[in-house]
Symmetry: D3
Subunit: 321 residues, 6 copies
């Protein structure tokens, strides 16, 4: 498998650690015939290009996930129909809705996690080898939970997943936890990883936080890119931050950005179905440290931002909570 | 009376059932000297052109209704002063505010309904023959109610009105009911017509719904265009749907769109005094099935969208709740 | 028809305008085998004794109304099964629940009103001649409404009903309105009668108010006994007040008690399924001015209080809002 | 091990399926020197008497669990100091608070579950053989969860636990779920068992529900006694119901009581630190079908009620949801 | 001036630091003809007996303060009419309501503070020499504030006042602050004294706290008796605690009780207009260390509890936050 | 000191009393390296140009105030580091956050007021002579308070400050009060100035109001420009109004604009971190009656609007509340 990280150089006049793709959004709200919006989606390198799982809300504003493929990570062909799950390690295919997918390759297959409606939001799990046949597994947790994100390899012999326990509405709180499983079926050893920051220390992440892309292994620990939320008098605003977690015990936070890496600023982020949202769900990176972050904007479209892993880490360490 | 439905052809590259007028908004927020915003307004064919009743919030953000006239339905002369009501079948002219008017011709006169402030919002009724003299009648209901919409002819010998019972604030619920009256003074035989849809089946109309323009008689039933609301973490978003009601018993819903027909997407809909609102209040249509829908955008301006009745009905029936 | 008002003299040491029956509660929560509680019920003189309609919540805490009979107004035989309605002026017998009945004799029959569940609470109407056969009529109003109370005779040729528009939960607001009907089917001419009092002038009725027993005609106007509610940091507290309304235009309030007549004070009022509630629904009175008020206590049991109409009126006029 | 179920005959004049102990409360709020209240506690037969784990809130209103012993199940000696946990299958002894314990014997040991504070309420697990040494294990779930109740034997080779996912406050919702574990460490195969009942069908359990004592195996299935909550305008009221679950697949509900078995009625239930609460946490039963249910009253004291298993099952089946 | 502290010995079987008067309540809700309730009131030694200022809510539930006198501190004659204020250092006698008074002797006169309604609750101030003529002064603060309590002597040459800033409703938060004034007219040097305790450390005072009686000088610092509030699913519960403040800088807390001294337990505290409230507003003490604490119960009646200052201080120091 | 008011003529086609600067925003969100947003800031003439105090939220969304200088009032050099306060009349430099500054010259120095975090928002005070050394003084009030605005000269020998008491969140209420101080340390003589307007009379200011720039003395009274807030279903919308206050007793309102002067209309006001906010904090004016108003837009950037004092006053008087 060979791929090239989607890339555009930093604009000459920019000093930002993350910079936006000049052709954003890369996926428009009506990119497939039935869609109201396509956002908060996840991609991975696959064969000689890329594959992904996309949140497509249809024009009934029903939330579902679709497979998609791309040669260059920029132009995408997204299936017009949602993924039809087959039975994996469970017979329980009941799902009221599916949204905010993540994709992670672990060993021989690609694992999909998403927010799955089972009498309330919880974390759905499925695997695929070819992005054509998907096998749904047991939900990881009891409701209510969102933003389940797997690590890309076992830790101490066990699968590991970040998640954000929550409630059944527009949850005004939310911490990041980690849980472990020997078999992708039973989960335990739940540990708290990070809580929202005090308002006066880092307001943008003072209401709730949740993991974003699959954590990236680095020499200094797992690089976890996440979203943080502030509650203003006009609702929630979602921004992007990052943290470094200890490799063998990722429940230990080594560094955590006091400053955000990116906040809603441009029209496709500040206006849309839910104004003022940037929500990262995937990151492509390569050996020379380039990173391309896929994020949903305003719960309406899908966008790209670029950076260097080394600079992100430097940014984290400079001003840590 | 002769008129031509305001019209602009569907853009070449569009497959939408409803398409926006390229010169939207047709009425700007400051179209009269005192206005903060002009939106959620209603028009009808009148003599050799059109007349209408317009919601003009003034710069004190007091809500009132004004008469207006147009030759082509696109360019409007709106009175600078609000309508001064005369006594119709009541002496009760008390009104704390008036907003969201509808206009319906029944037999020999034009009936106006609106949200009328009488110790809370309820449905005000008036009639006019010339859009100069308006005669206010008894409020149809006790508070709290909004979006009262009359049928354009009697049904089983009685006037019929759709409405949405609600409460005294930013109501987070709301169904469409129908009520009947022998005389436009006393109302009864209240029947439930439609409730919000389950979130997982049609999220855009899962919080509340309310009737829009005067229902249109068709071979297949009354075509009711309505608004539906979703509650996101940044407030309410208003979109447009449609349903078919049984001709002689309109409390029976024959079909109802699972998908929206239109949702806020363009800047004059996604930004303004209340972002993310499209709110239809009137529709001009003619014998060849063209329809021009007048809608308020972002509680700030007045806009037009076009379509064909036959296509709307086909859209409804294809994917019905 | 002859009857004697249930009666017990004012205790020697009391100066209260209303005094409680020493054998309260007169109906216990388990007075019929299926009941969880029996309260907020209404009675009238009937043949040579009394008949009534009783709110009996069963042990599933489903709310329904039962007929009952008594020789002396103190000891009651309540039917073990709820009233089965027959069709009156409507085919709409749909009712999710029935509670808080009132009974009023107008001309040749007894009219029952109650809070009727039709996709939300509204005012149900029925009539009976014998408390055996009940004929259900059209609901008076759209939801949401509670505490519909009929006047005991037509006013200006029309039936008249007090009610309290509300919302779909534990409504934290509520005014008393009046509406008129020529035929018990269509209602209109809605007028506001009274609103809650400002907190600093009469705190006990500062959250919401609602009519209680059938208004009583007197030389000075209609005597309306009503409940008022205050919102404390431990919930709602319901007390009893009274007002005098103009005979021919009862929307005009002549006098209204600033002071309550009765507030929860004794254990069967301050504890129970809903603590701190006294809720009057009926009053028996006779020519010599004695009055026996039936009230629910703590949403659990049914009680009696006594007084003289003349003293209540004097009390009203002494210190009026 | 031999024991006699604590017992008092049904009062002569009672037709109740459950009847209260005439000497309630059996444990007073100040039964140990430091306690503010002792309630919502669990007991089991142990050696030649009984042992238990008791929720004792101290006078700082800190919640903790204490061991206790009794000869007859009526008179209890409760340890003055809270249980000091030892490490079981985890090093994570962190606990901000412990409350609402349950005790279940499975095979060779007694398992304790309780609401454990770990950055929010979740389900703590411990085991003991002698009620002196307690070994704390991994929390079963991520927060937020309460009312974790183990089955008294493995089902299909796995431990099984009922629980009620919730949020971080006075949760106004709550369903009963079941989860399975091969090892008391990792949990999965989460299935929904029961949700609150519709208000109009069984109001007393319309807000939230949660499992109570350890389920009891019977010929007809698992007898699960549970609490149900209604939300009145004066707060939450907790009552007691029961259901029968399928033996091998307890996520299947066979019967469920529409009526409550017991609701707060007597002073020690209707007044106290939290009025109007009856909350069952344990049940002693024997071969002849007598059952003694231990319940907390008003979040203040511990009480007993008696019944026959056969009558409870008959009651369930007579009027099931 | 000579007086004897009202007193009753500790019951033989009691180990409580504070014990209730066996004849509680000492003032009934109807102790004057117009009163609904008399509670949260303050008394001081005066001439050869006692005088006080009493919160009397009348039967309109208007809140006002009345003067009263007693020979023994147990039996009270309370004026039937509220205090009529004269102008002190202000012309602003506007007061929408007056409640929860405190009385403090400083140098030559008695100062009254109370919650005063001036477009919201704030702290009213008045002085008197004889409890007949009261001179109202400038309100100490802007709204919103409650529980203003003066120290009984100047500190560093300035008057000092504790208070609890709050909001305009049933405030779910509240800290104790101190402010200083050179002249009882202008206030400043505001300092935070104490905040509510973390729920897991001292739940009974985890929602809000407020000062009670005038602080008492002791060898170990100012003894401040205060109320603390917990928010249960059935509303607020008010208990009593105590703290020691540094003599010359009372913003410094030396000790603070983790445990409550008294919590609602007996019927006149657990039931009434607002259940589960004990609210101390005054304390009489003498040289031999006896203390009599006057407190309101259930927002309905006035009660007494007794103790020894030395034991209270020992209790504080034993288990301090 | 000489200066020229920043100025741009009214556009030819405009009839607005206030018109926006064509080069808005004058200060971008990233005008200093660390900033997320710069808005709600205050400027004054200083030496031969202008100086100011700017609210700069950094990329941790911590709120702080920075000094800045300008030659022309349009182009600004803002310090990259926040102001470091020195001790003025207090040792209390504790500040959790600083935001929404105002600057006022009184006699020999410049006074800064701002919203200061001291266990909740209150009004911080400091003075400077050179915008390099700032001396922090006692907070004016107890929490919770915002929008403290000093008058530019003493009134009756005392400093005077407007403020808006509030609570600890997104306060849904707020009146303007005035308080006086002899010494900038102790404050009293608090008087209510203005409350929100009734919704039906002036909706844009019906939720809360707060003072903006330093009041301007005119022949007709103090010209106070202020913000008013309406609560729509999508959150708060902030607009600008004005009032005239009596010179010697500014608590007396002479005129108050029913209509707003400016409401969010252009993209930099309707989109941003908090959509739909215009928030004035300073005004430069000169002898010929020109005025330049500095306002924050969308809690993101700083903007300018121009007008004539005489026209603003005429506007006020034409249509006053």
């Amino acid at each position: 498998m060979h791929f090239e990280t989607p890339w555009e150089e930093r604009p000459a006049n920019s000093t930002e650690v993350l910079w936006r793709y000049s052709k954003n959004p890369i996926i428009h709200r009506h990119a497939i015939p039935s869609s109201n919006s396509i956002f908060n989606s996840a991609v991975v390198p696959y064969t000689d290009g890329f594959a992904g799982v996309f949140r497509c809300d249809n024009r009934s504003v029903q939330m579902n996930i679709h497979a998609g493929f791309s040669k260059d990570g920029l132009q995408w062909q997204i299936d017009h129909d949602p993924i039809q799950m087959l039975a994996g390690n469970t017979e329980l295919l009941h799902s009221d809705y599916k949204y905010d997918p993540r994709v992670t390759k672990i060993e021989d297959r690609y694992w999909i996690t998403w927010c799955n409606g089972y009498y309330g939001p919880t974390i759905g799990i499925a695997y695929t080898e070819d992005f054509r046949q998907f096998y749904q597994c047991e939900n990881a947790f009891l409701p209510f939970n969102r933003n389940g994100v797997l690590f890309p390899r076992k830790i101490n012999g066990m699968y590991a997943m970040l998640s954000r326990p929550s409630d059944n509405g527009h949850t005004p709180f939310g911490d990041i936890y980690i849980s472990y499983s020997p078999d992708m079926m039973f989960w335990g050893k739940h540990r708290m990883v990070m809580q929202p920051a005090p308002f006066v220390e880092s307001g943008w992440q003072s209401t709730k936080i949740g993991a974003g892309p699959t954590p990236i292994p680095t020499d200094e620990g797992w690089l976890m890119i996440y979203h943080g939320v502030i509650h203003t008098c006009n609702g929630f605003r979602y921004a992007v931050g990052a943290a470094l977690l200890e490799m063998e015990r990722p429940e230990n936070v080594l560094y955590r950005s006091r400053r955000y890496l990116m906040t809603p600023e441009v029209p496709y982020e500040t206006t849309g179905d839910v104004p003022n949202v940037v929500f990262p769900c995937a990151a492509i990176h390569d050996d020379d440290g380039k990173i391309a972050i896929y994020y949903g904007a305003a719960d309406t479209v899908t966008c790209l931002a670029f950076g260097y892993i080394s600079e992100i880490i430097q940014f984290l360490k400079e001003d840590t909570l």
